[in-house]
Amino acid sequence: MSFFFEVLIGGLLAGVMYSLVALGFVLIFKASGVLNFAQGSMVLFAALTFVSLTERGINFWLALLATLAIMVVLAILTERIVLRPLVNQPAITLFMATIGLSFLLEGLAQGLWGSQPHGLNLGIPDDVLVIGDMFISTFDLYAAGIAAVLVGALAVFFNKTRVGRALRAVADDHQAALAVGIPLKHIWAIVWAVAGFVALVAGLLWGARQGVQFALTLVALKALPVLILGGFTSVPGAIVGGLIIGASEKLAEVYIGPYVGGGIENWFPYMLALMFLLIRPEGLFGEVHIDRV
């Protein structure tokens, strides 16, 4: 039984990280109606930039600041070059544009800093914590803690601050937001910058665990099922969805995996999310929506 809990807790801790990445998606989706497929490439871009800067002898905090600045510039450029010209296009067109963007960012990141993997040490202790007869990684605990703080901060930002409320107004009705004088383009740039920040944190945490390399872009693929489960627009959906996916993925790998040859964590979350959707198409926290004609 304690083995079960050990797996469950490991899964939940990973799940917090999924929630974090998923939140990056939700943020952009709520404010601009774009499912940003490039989120994973942003994670890679941020992490690679940060590591490369520190490896060139730049102080940790300075590198962090510089990377953040670069992500903000990237956000503004994205708004200018990609989003603004596509403003009135169907959402699916914007989605495809972000697939293009993800290629662009991957190419840029590796073109600038090289394709070889980097190690990353954030100084987070990586020991094993023994509780009863369960073994829990302290790194995962710290990482989940940092992610949780960030998730909480974002939720507050979204619900309590002026900018956050403006964001939600934009999400609910672009026209209305314009009518009350919220400059859409600023909002978009802000949101993308915040998403860039989320990508940076996720990139650091993930990179510290598995190295900074191309595979980091796959983190985004982990977050997508979380989104189908929780809904693209729901902050609580992203949080709960992340936990569910994290936990069930690890449990499935341990308890189902051996019977089918393992390696199921790539597709299991997708299947889970799909099954769920077939039963409840509006997602965890979504409302039933009937197309108006």
Binding site: F95, A97, G100, F103, G114, I228, G261, I264, L274, D291
Partner: protein, 355 residues
Amino acid sequence: MIYRECGQFKTSYGSDQAIFPIPQDRWGVMLALLIAFMVIPAIANEYWLGVILTPFLILALAALGLNILTGYCGQLSLGSAAFMAVGAFAAYNFELRLPGIPLLLDFVLAGLVAAGVGIIFGIPSLRIKGFYLAVATLAAQFFIEWSLTKFGWFSNYSSSGVITAQKMVILGYDFDTPLRKYLLVLSIVSVLALMAKNLVRSETGRAWMAVRDMDVAAEVIGIRIMKTKLMAFAVSSFYCGVAGALWAFAYLGTVDAQTFDLHRSFQILFMIIVGGMGSILGSFIGAAFIVLMPIFINLSAHALFGNAIRPDLLSNMELIVFGGLIIFFLIVEPLGLARLWQIAKEKLRLWPFPH
């Protein structure tokens, strides 16, 4: 003779409903086929036939499949390569387990298996739309890749999961040289392209487009959404499946599940974005563009920087160029190169009186 529509009065609706109502189009297609079947075999060398033209044709077929689903029926799929994988492995297994099965029947069966799998993964489209569905198709991509790797039966328990395609023989004739393979692929692709063209100009195609453009209205005029979408998934996967079988049998010879990974799916998606959503011709133009672009980048990089250029830099340059192009096309001409071609034709059609 100039390309134009006015002045050529159609004498019946029958001729106006013909596949290429304008004679110049008809001749254009004839000419293209003539070049493809007669001229190219006479002048192209083995490198062009085997390394450029054959894969181009096969990818064009896959793009055509995706275009049916995404361009015509409006269901974005990120898993087309997975259905190619199904086709490749199915064709291999039919040959393996039913020795002596006619090659063309083998390809058709492989396509049908892919179609069946396509229908299964199309079922979510009945309840979810847009990018929810796009994300759901990733499930197909990952699940199929995984099962073909994990279950040894599919690769006849080869240790690395690699399958080696059997020889292609029709009625004792061995398709073993690049030229012969090219001609076989060309014939199959031509026939399937013609059938696709017929489908999209008939009721089936109109139903697809109706569902794509306004599903509520489509249902109200009696179109069954479920049947229409699943049909699009089936036909699309059939095309991708045959393309996958050809990829294994006529191009690479040996493949494994990773030959058909997510990257390949994106490559095919890019073809229809660049070439033109909802255009048969666009699938071909897009495939040509995407196949030739890396060669072009490679050549120009070497011309500019000599051999000093690092190969990984080259592949990153490819990523940048592709990504940039996709964004460029979506912004400037969402209907792709095929639309530009059409505009050019319309200009010609009215020339020299633009109004």
